[in-house]
């Protein structure tokens, strides 16, 4: 383990906090993408199409 001196607790918590928030942000971004794609696929499976695509 690296010796971080007398204030190690502040350094470690700063990095843990940032890591948690960044991971949270990545997960949230990816999951909201999946949710939207899932719902679109669901509606398209029900035969809902945009007007412009009806002709095709």
């Amino acid at each position: 383990m690296i010796d971080l001196g007398p204030h190690a607790v502040f350094i470690i918590w700063a990095y843990i906090g940032v890591a948690a928030a960044v991971v949270g942000l990545i997960v949230w971004t990816v999951v909201s993408g999946w949710r939207v794609e899932g719902r679109i696929a669901e509606l398209e499976a029900q035969g809902v199409r945009r007007r412009a695509e009806k002709a095709s």
Partner: protein, 255 residues
Amino acid sequence: MTVDLAPKPNWFARIANPSQFLGWTRPLLWPLTILTAIAFAVGLYFAFLDSPPDYQMGDTVRIMYIHVPNAWLSQFVYGVMAVSALGSLIWRHPMADVSMKAAAPLGAVFTALALFTGSLWGRPTWGTFWEWDGRMTSTLVLFLIYLGLIALWRAFEDQLRAGRVVAVFTLIGAINIPIVKFSVDWWQTLHQPSSVITPDGPHMPGSILTPLLVMMAAFTLLFATLQLKAMHTEIRRRRLATLERQRAAMAEGAK
């Protein structure tokens, strides 16, 4: 023989048209993700293993490698939103709306992290977690502005109208950015003035400047990646809204 009469899309259409934008930016996502991961690996290696403790504040200098990048992003992301707001108001650029909306939660998180790491750095170096000094107070205001803009997006059912209103408020809120930037020169209370970009060069040795610059690059790449992905999701969410309306219309027609 078929003749292709469709006009070749110009660069503006390539940015402005949602489907075209999706088409040419999708292949960028994975390379950006990998680049971000590499930058973080290199940055963290420098931050912990290949940089010395500061001669005055010892190892707490390592908090700087995450504090400064988040503080930089808190302002940079607002800059992206302000430019998008102009694009939205002047050119009615559809991707500008999408970019504004995608950036707001990202900016809010980076600003919260700047405040969080700042207070954890402040306690051992200044002896306090918080002080109502110019830089800290204006950054807190910036955080509240982000929250306000997110709330404003959610207050409107019609996202086109929301875009117009949010763009105006984003530009009003931009007044706070120079205040954050110059607060350290105007009110010399606790927070130190800028020490990377100064008229006579960076005020720190290369061994400490290198991890800082790599970490700033890593966080900026992280923002670019998340922004692009969030914009894709927002484009698809608008398409989903169209489909939902279509379904409602079909249900109406079937009666």
